[in-house]
Symmetry: C2
């Protein structure tokens, strides 16, 4: 799914500006599962406009800068449908945090704890957010994705909370065993 298709998907939910599309990937229903920045969205919208997949109308506003509101065309909806019927690529995740936790032994404890706790509170707030949403009148597909997300956030938060103390304890034990092995006798004065 390239950014053009993602934009078509957002516009399927209703007319939007580039700015509003970006917000959908930050706070809206696509958050966490898909994302795109301005540097991809604005060129994508121009290309879609050029190909007749969307229309654009200018809207002047009181005070705030002018908007360009985009709307899906029939051709755009057809293109979205076609893209949705292709083979999905495998999920692609890039997690700096998990990369850091993998190398936990190389981190100083302050940084490690801050990273760990930041990850935990991130998933907690994701879960709280999804739980706070109103599910009435939502389509089955959107509801399913929302519930799957909630399940995922909760699992991560719970796991991180429950394994916190054990993880740090095991790291500590491992660190001590390492330094003991280095000094040889276990009676070393350190360094």
């Amino acid at each position: 799914m390239d950014v053009k298709t993602l934009c078509l998907g957002v516009l399927k939910l209703g007319d939007a500006t580039g700015y509003e599309i970006k917000k959908q990937f930050e706070e809206g229903p696509f958050a966490y599962f898909n994302q795109a920045g301005f540097g991809s969205i604005y060129p994508a919208l121009n290309a879609l406009l050029n190909d007749g997949m969307v229309t654009c109308r200018d809207e002047r506003q009181q005070g705030r800068p002018d908007k360009k509101v985009y709307r899906l065309t029939a051709a755009g909806e057809a293109a979205l449908t076609a893209a949705l019927h292709g083979r999905p690529a495998l999920d692609k995740l890039r997690s700096d945090t998990i990369f850091m936790l993998f190398f936990a032994e190389m981190l100083d404890e302050t940084h490690l704890r801050a990273t760990y706790d930041g990850y935990l509170s991130y998933f907690r707030s994701c879960f709280e957010h999804v739980r706070s949403l109103d599910n009435t009148g939502i389509t089955p597909g959107r509801l399913f994705v929302r519930d799957l997300g909630a399940e995922f956030y909760e699992t991560m938060a719970t796991y991180l909370a429950e394994h916190r103390e054990r993880f740090f304890a095991e790291l500590d034990a491992h660190q001590k065993a390492e330094s003991t092995a280095k000094t040889g006798t276990g009676m070393g004065t350190g360094r």
Copy 2:
């Protein structure tokens, strides 16, 4: 975490060729959480070599093409440590499948079921794979990441398996309600 840092991380586990580094992102301990292709890895290794972060030795082999085996230097390890002490970026996931499930109403049932079942068996095989690994002698960080992964895979597989029938039933009901609403009386002959 750019690809250069990811390569340093892989090389921290032991000497490797570009080809072997790629495999680490496909089957190895970094699978699912991080990934990189040849188009990023080979240029990254050249840059790291240029900056003295790695050394490279040529190895001729019987039959197979020659290898270039890379090894982390002290400077490389220092750079890795520094990168691990930065602020982690938020997780970035791109899931075509979840995007498709979100728009389930727009998909024909065959495609939807194939996509759903493909996703389920993907997580099942991920879980089986992690479960089959030997955990003896592993560092606490690696073990933690492995267990977190297993928990995640299992959660996804279980959720998808348990909600399968209900999801398709609700979609069906929704589809019928839609077509009834369109024809107005509920006695429409279709079209």
